[in-house]
């Protein structure tokens, strides 16, 4: 990657619809009627086209090498709507030949027809929200599908020609034991997916799960010991099966790392379209409104938040995003990007982290150790200037 990364660009498209909301979800997403979806798709296309026009006027780079449909459940849309959006993207931007085009989807929303249309529209990577292979877990989480339905969708996707598939799985689900979780991992490994995202469940505020946890004083969650065991198992079982951990929660077969997500951690430019979508463009971070009515009325430059990053902000981001990746950060790259000697800025704290066994150095590279990853927030907080 290196200097090439900087000139690349990713496109994120937010589809804020789902069939029903899961108990742990704090994303901008909700069930909606057909009419709203239709209006949303046309607003989205307007926003994308306008961005293309503006980029052209300013003489900016219009080449993109990734597109990522996230949600919500993007696969809830009719396949024609996906085609419509992809047409707008291609009109506004030039997609590279090897562009990675990912669609997040949920089992139970996929059909043969949809999958084939996605392929036709250029989608070449699927990210399926499985979460667990255990039907009781799925029910506990408020998921709409069973494991059997997932398997059907998965086979269908393979048949449709998808050869780059990610599966999301979750640990520390209420009621989950390490034994059951290990079974989860083995079943997923047996599917031979190219990529696995393994998260530990995060209890976010303003979710039904949060209230449940509060009410029971955390008793519904697995114990700390079990949580730790599941976490260690993930590394072990996936590692043995040939998956390479390249980010805190992401594992891939060699060559199948998610390019789009790496953009976030490498601070490569990305443009987000749709409500609540975030962008990084030059030294600006901005986020679209999360109000549906407002967005539908005016999808162009309708921002809830915009921040101009100072060099300090950028250095901090470089550190706390870069350290999420196993390859870590690079002192030489730091100097090139910010025109400052790494050790002058962070030398003392890094030395302490290395002494404490939280970080490791190899040449000019620095990365978190296993213990460092376990408490990465504590470590990263030290890189806030």
């Amino acid at each position: 990657m290196g200097s090439d990364t900087i000139r690349q660009k990713g496109i994120y498209i937010h589809i804020p619809f789902c069939i029903s909301k899961c108990i742990y979800c704090d994303f901008c997403s909700a069930p909606a009627d057909e009419d709203t979806k239709e209006q949303y798709v046309s607003a989205l296309c307007r926003e994308i086209r306008q961005a293309g026009i503006e980029a052209e006027q300013k003489g900016e780079n219009r080449t993109a090498s990734t597109v990522f449909f996230g949600g919500g459940t993007p696969s809830i849309l009719r396949s024609a709507q996906i085609v419509e959006i992809m047409n707008a993207v291609r009109e506004a931007f030039r997609l590279t030949d090897d562009a990675e085009i990912t669609m997040e989807c949920n089992p139970g929303t996929l059909t043969k027809e949809k999958l084939e249309t996605y392929r036709y529209a250029g989608v070449n990577r699927l990210s399926i929200g499985l979460q667990s292979t255990n039907n009781r877990d799925l029910k506990n989480l408020g998921r709409i599908h069973t494991y059997e339905q997932f398997e059907e969708s998965y086979i269908e996707a393979r048949l449709a020609g998808f050869n780059n598939i990610n599966v999301d799985i979750m640990s520390a689900i209420p009621g989950q034991t390490p034994e059951k979780y290990a079974e989860n991992l083995r079943r997923v490994v047996a599917l031979k997916t190219e990529h696995i995202s393994a998260y530990s469940l995060i209890v976010e505020e303003n979710t039904p799960l949060y209230d449940m946890v509060e009410r029971t004083h955390g008793r519904i969650l697995p114990s700390e010991e079990d949580d730790r065991r599941m976490y260690t198992m993930t590394k072990e079982i996936l590692g043995e099966a040939g998956y390479n951990r390249y980010e805190i929660s992401n594992y891939a077969k060699p060559g199948y790392e998610c390019r789009h997500n790496c953009f976030y951690w490498n601070r490569t430019e990305y443009l987000g379209f749709g409500i609540a979508a975030a962008s990084l463009s030059g030294n600006r971070r901005y986020t679209n409104t999360s109000d549906m009515a407002s967005y539908l009325a005016n999808p162009i430059h309708n921002r809830a938040e915009e921040q101009i990053l100072t060099v300090e902000d950028e250095m901090e981001e470089y550190m706390f995003l870069g350290l999420r990746m196993m390859k870590g950060v690079d002192k030489t790259e730091f100097a090139r990007l910010f025109g400052k000697d790494y050790d002058e800025v962070y030398g003392d704290i890094t030395r302490r982290h290395i002494e404490q066994g939280l970080m490791a150095a190899e040449g000019s590279r620095l990365c978190l150790t296993d213990i460092g990853i376990d408490i990465s927030n504590t470590v990263m907080a030290d890189y806030i200037l």
Binding site: S249, L280, E317, D374, Y383, I384
Partner: protein, 603 residues
């Protein structure tokens, strides 16, 4: 403008806490037309944010209003508001010296409380005429006649024609104003005599320097007068004189005998003006300084340290300025292994400590670490010398100690008879010695106890209120020192003694306190990379132990495009939290842990 001395009334309002003193002051200000009711913010005289929030008066406040009486004449009222809490008696005493009379406010339902008596005695000590006023007569539970009888019986002052008022609802305020005119004497003294003015308060203003609040007893002071502070000998040229509007200073031509007002004279050094000192005319001095105030001695001590060592001098400046405004505050530099450079500060009581702490944090924007409060112990050493111990770290080796003494107070607790049992039980738990009980009337009793001061400085007042449903009131004065079996409880964090956490405790309860302290600290100290033992020790013997488990997981599983700004905020917050910690060896201890000892009796 010349002021007719016979038309001046200098008075204060005294009352038990919550009996409506500040509300009556507000009503008087409103009635006399200094402010329209629209301009009135509730409790005008409580102008510190802290006072409004807590609903208490901390500093004495002064305001001058003009009242057109029923006899058609205009009178100048200098109204001095005073604090009600026992910790601030000293402030009351200072204010009284500037007055010629006092309005005594008594709650029509609650009647006389401990602080009512304490304040009345203070007023009588200063030869003030006391006029009683019965407040809150519109309460359903009001019994004005019973309270009037009580005032006559207990205090022994005439109260049959006391105004019956509601300060809150503005009922019969006129009667109070007329009583001030007719029952409080006009000041005496001649404007032609040599100047003698009593300093009763002062504050520092960044532009004007020290502003001296004084009562002119004799003579005249005006712009240009060369003044001398009689105790310090410092001399200044008067720049401005004036009186007190509501929350502002109003300049005037001169202050003459009988008036209450302020003087500025480009006084830069706060130490030159001492509250209680006499201001005189350097060219024509008075013979004798006015009698000052009794010096008050702090009863409670604690260490105060800047959270960031670099702010040591800011803390020193802030303390110096606060002391100017609050003569009861004392401080001297000290150092702690754990906390670095700071000050050992002395206070009148725990509320006083808390108020100063909050004022330092709010008004001076300082981040503080405060250590556990303690009292002054007398340590009699085997070599015959005696040391006064304010900092537990300075306790000599046990082999050098003959015996120790601790301060005890005589406490008076007024309580309705229903709660006598629970209150006696509380006093016994706190090592109290029962001295006696008097029935004030059929439903109220006055309990007398001798209590060790170190048993009441933390939370005694709260415990008292909760066991009496708020009906008990409490007053105490230092009685003296008694020999006591005391020991120092040390706290070891990660096997190292943290000096700032040590405290002196009675030997019988030391182990129990040590256990609770460890439990508390276990909750206060966040998990860190490794396991941290927390131990309590008496003279090297471990009496309790808890363990803070190692931190095992602090990781954000997901961080994608839309999460980055949020993640940054989270890390910033975490970083802020770390700043509020004290690095001690390898362990980070949060500031609030140093106050943990205060909360040992929560349960």
């Amino acid at each position: 403008m010349s002021v007719d001395q016979s038309k001046i009334r200098n008075f204060c309002i005294i009352a038990h806490i919550d009996h409506g003193k500040s509300t009556l002051a507000d009503r008087i200000i409103e009635k006399t037309g200094l402010l329209t009711s629209r301009e009135m913010q509730a409790q005008v005289l409580d102008n510190m944010d802290l006072e409004r929030e807590r609903g208490i008066t901390i500093k004495a406040q002064t305001v001058r209003v003009v009242y057109k009486a029923q006899d058609g004449e205009e009178y100048i009222f200098n109204l001095i508001d005073t604090p009600g809490h026992v910790d601030f008696n000293y402030e009351v005493s200072r204010s009284l010296a500037a007055c010629d009379g006092a309005i005594l406010v008594v709650d029509a339902a609650q009647g006389i409380e401990a602080q009512t008596l304490a304040n009345v005695y203070l007023a009588l000590d200063h030869d003030l005429d006391v006029i009683p006023v019965i407040n809150k007569i519109d309460l359903p539970s009001a019994e004005p006649q019973r309270v009037i009888d009580e005032i006559e019986d207990v205090i022994g002052i005439e109260a049959q024609d006391a105004p019956l008022i509601s300060a809150k609802n503005g009922i019969n305020i006129d009667q109070v104003l007329e009583a001030v005119v007719h029952k409080i004497p006009a000041p005496t003294g001649s404007k032609d005599n040599p100047l003698a003015a009593l300093i009763f308060d002062s504050l520092y203003d960044a532009y004007k320097g020290v502003i001296v609040f004084c009562r002119i007893k004799e003579g005249t002071v005006k712009k240009g007068t060369r003044i001398r502070m009689m105790a310090t000998g410092a001399e200044f040229d008067t720049v401005e004189v004036g009186y007190f509007g509501a929350g502002q200073f109003i300049p005037c031509d001169e202050l003459t005998a009988g008036m209450v007002g302020y003087i500025t004279a480009s006084i830069k050094n706060v130490r030159d003006t001492r509250v209680g000192d006499t201001v005189t005319d350097a060219d024509r001095p008075c013979e004798q300084p006015l009698p000052g105030y009794k010096k008050v001695n702090p009863m409670v001590y604690c260490g105060m340290y800047p959270a960031d060592g670099a702010h040591y001098s800011d803390l020193r400046d802030a303390l110096e300025k606060l002391q100017l405004n609050d003569a009861a505050l004392q401080y001297e530099p000290e150092t702690s292994v754990a906390l670095g450079f700071g000050f050992r500060c002395g206070f009148l009581g725990l509320l006083h400590l808390e108020i100063i702490q909050e004022r330092l944090e709010r008004e001076y924007d300082l981040d503080l670490v405060t250590t556990a409060p303690g009292v002054i112990y007398k340590v009699h050493k085997t070599d015959g010398t005696v040391i006064e111990l304010t900092n537990p770290s300075n306790l000599p080796d046990p082999s050098e100690i003959e015996y120790m003494e601790e301060p005890v107070v005589s406490a008076e607790i007024m309580v309705t008879t229903d709660y006598v049992g629970p209150i006696m039980e509380l006093c016994q738990q706190r090592r109290g010695v029962y001295l006696g009980m008097e029935y004030m009337e059929t439903t109220r009793a006055l309990l007398k106890y001798e209590l060790p001061l170190n048993e009441i400085i933390y939370d005694f007042f709260d415990a008292l209120k909760s066991r009496s449903r708020g009906y008990a009131s409490f007053d105490y004065e230092l009685k003296g020192y008694v020999q006591s079996k005391l020991c120092k409880l040390d706290i070891l964090v990660n096997k190292e003694e943290v000096d700032a956490l040590s405290f002196i405790v009675h030997a019988d309860s030391a182990a129990e306190r040590g256990r609770k302290m460890c439990e508390k600290l276990k909750d206060e100290i966040p998990r860190q990379l490794f396991e941290i033992p927390i131990q309590a020790a008496i003279g090297g013997r471990i009496v309790a132990r808890e363990t803070v488990k190692a931190m095992r997981k602090d990781v954000l599983a997901k961080c994608y495009g839309g999460d980055i700004s949020r993640k940054k905020k989270l890390l910033e917050k975490q970083k802020e939290g770390k700043k509020r910690m004290r690095q001690f060896g390898n362990v980070e201890i949060p500031q609030k842990a140093f106050m943990a000892v205060l909360k040992l009796d929560d349960d």
